[in-house]
Amino acid sequence: MDFELTTDQQMLADGLGRLLAERYDFEHRKAELFGAPGWSREMWSRYAEMGLLGLPFAEADGGLGGGPVETMIVAEAFGRALVLEPYIPTVLLAGGLLRLAGTPAQRLELVPRIAEGRELLAFAHVERQARYDLADIATTAQRQDGRGDWTLDGAKSFVLHADTADKLIVSARVAGQRRDRSGLALFLVDSNAPGISRRAYVMQDGMRAADVTLCGVRVSDEALLGRAGHALPIIERVVDYTIAALCAEAVGAMTRAHELTVEYLKVRKQFGVPIGSFQALQHRAVDMLVMIEQARSLSMYATMMAEDADANARAQAVSAAKAYIGRAGKLVGEQAIQLHGGIGVTEECAIGHYYRRLTMIDILFGDSAHHLSVVAASAD
């Protein structure tokens, strides 16, 4: 067992921490949040310069060969600063699918462009009827006589950052019934392709998303990412990897919200004394600390297991972490608001923004109750 970061990992953490401390304070963020496109293209270039956008890709493809630990470091730093940029959809979701299922030609074409910040991607997968079931896909991909172009039809929802994405990776069913585990395929589609329409919106935490409708969208066989009909295990791997990153992001957000709360307890005075001198509030702050430390441990656990060869063990570990962290994030956020008092429920106070993000993180890819039931169902 070893909890130390390597020198390179420590440099990554320090460098990113510095950049975000300098450039991502609450006021800067707020300006981006309420503007268009809702995040900073300048920061995106900075991330590219730092190597963050190519981080998880193989060096041979134009990436940096980073693993889950590097991703954890980035995600935690992003959580602290409540970063708005489309890192999850471009680098982790679509990037992950490309990394695992892409042909060498597809990877060589796209990875350098992603790494340089010139290409934004989104993963159009979730459908309204599916709730958290990754296999529940009704969108179809069909072709005549088993060859020629594919035609995609269906409706995707909550596609993270699809509003600004240049390309979409669309999951569609080439065979079987709605919830079958087999029969799914992935297609790389230009987001402006004929037949695609997007309804863009702002999510509760300020992040951007879109619903994507596919109506007779024609793509060639070359658009296929991986083998048709066998996409689900790859989707699950990528989603597990992303959940591990979301857990780290939540830990970053919780940690910062807790720091801000403890700072506030020291400066806010009532009854002539700092409110942090009251034992009831001290104990609340300690309970938050304990919960965050437990969450951090599970975030590390999910990170360690994120690319485990045993798919079942991987999924169990990631669900365990998400089940705990989804709930912990909510509880820590709620107590952070409570300890701030009235100012905590205003939009001008950072705490509320942490709570909004933590609430959305709980929902993304399955909430705490969902993942607890996953763990409970498959435990020995």
Binding site: M1, F3, Q282, H283, V286, Q294, R296, L298, T303, A323
Partner: protein, 398 residues
Amino acid sequence: MDLRFTDNELAFREEVQQFFRTAVPPDIRRKCVLGQRLSKPELQRWTRILFEKGWATPAWAPQWGGTGWTAVQQYIFKEELHMAPAPEPLSFNVNMIGPVLIAFGTEEQKRQFLPSIASLDYWFCQGFSEPGAGSDLASLRTSACLEGDHYVVNGQKLWTSTAHHADWCFLLVRTDPSAKKQQGITYLLMDMRSPGITVRPIVTIDGHHETNEMFLENVRIPVANRIGEENRGWDYAKYLLGHERSGIARVGISKMRVRRAKELARNIDAGGRPLSEDRGFRERVALLEIELKALEITQMRLISAAAAPAGKPDPKSSILKMKGSQLQQAAAQLLLETAGYEAMEFDREFLRGAAETPSPHDWALTLAPNHYWARHVSIVGGSNEIQRNILAKTVLGL
């Protein structure tokens, strides 16, 4: 960062498991499985086995009988001991007076006491708490007056667990009533055969007699049995705070309880199918196992972080104490819920270790008492509220 155990650590775990499989006497193992209390001779017998293996006091300095294991190995050993399940060696000896003697005792005291403490030839109890000194331990009033080469001690101690078994007691007494309360305290070793000691049993919520109150009337303790300097006893007592990190959370005990609950649930009918298939039950188990996994890693993180400054206690070990006690209680509660009605029958003699019971369900008889008794783990050794005070002050700066 690599959270996996190394090959060496895995091999060590295998070695420890192998030892516990063969070394724990079957009658003692059975009592552990059934949650019964051990008698004094049974714990002595088991400690002797550990002692002869050289594993009675793994965390001690090697020249005094420690194994020199890494923190991770210490943790693995503790976990396998709890999971075996095998009895935990007497904490007063191994985790408390032993380390204090090693840190602050004279060479002569170390030679006189440490081997017998390790082998349990000397059974120590702890004379700290008093009727008016619980969480506010430093307000203790038991007095010691120097008369020639003896202290003469008068007062009352409370919660002196196993005093009725003990050969010795490590005792905090007030030697300077005029000093600030932490500064007038002295740390003494008291021979339990000394005249003037009266031990009265206190039966606890589980129906068992383990703890006592102890009255001291003109008890004479040689100055040679003082630890360190007069009036510095508080420092020596505080040294233990956060010292024993590798076992404080007792993750292994909680894991063993959860495992037992799962085993039992397979044979318990709930609405026409095994309780182990009930969704609510499975989710309660899952939640507990997730928290235990987290605590296991938290513990490892704190252990490895603490390895840097030698011997300095980390206030974050209060996290382990708090969370560990909460999960021990939750696991005891899970076992109780698993049993349902079966947990209702009370057999005091069986709890105390009787081999036989007229009850047809011996497996359930100790679940409620152990659940009741688990309440004490968040109170003993600095209540969870005291742990929160420590964390608020030292970690959060409040």
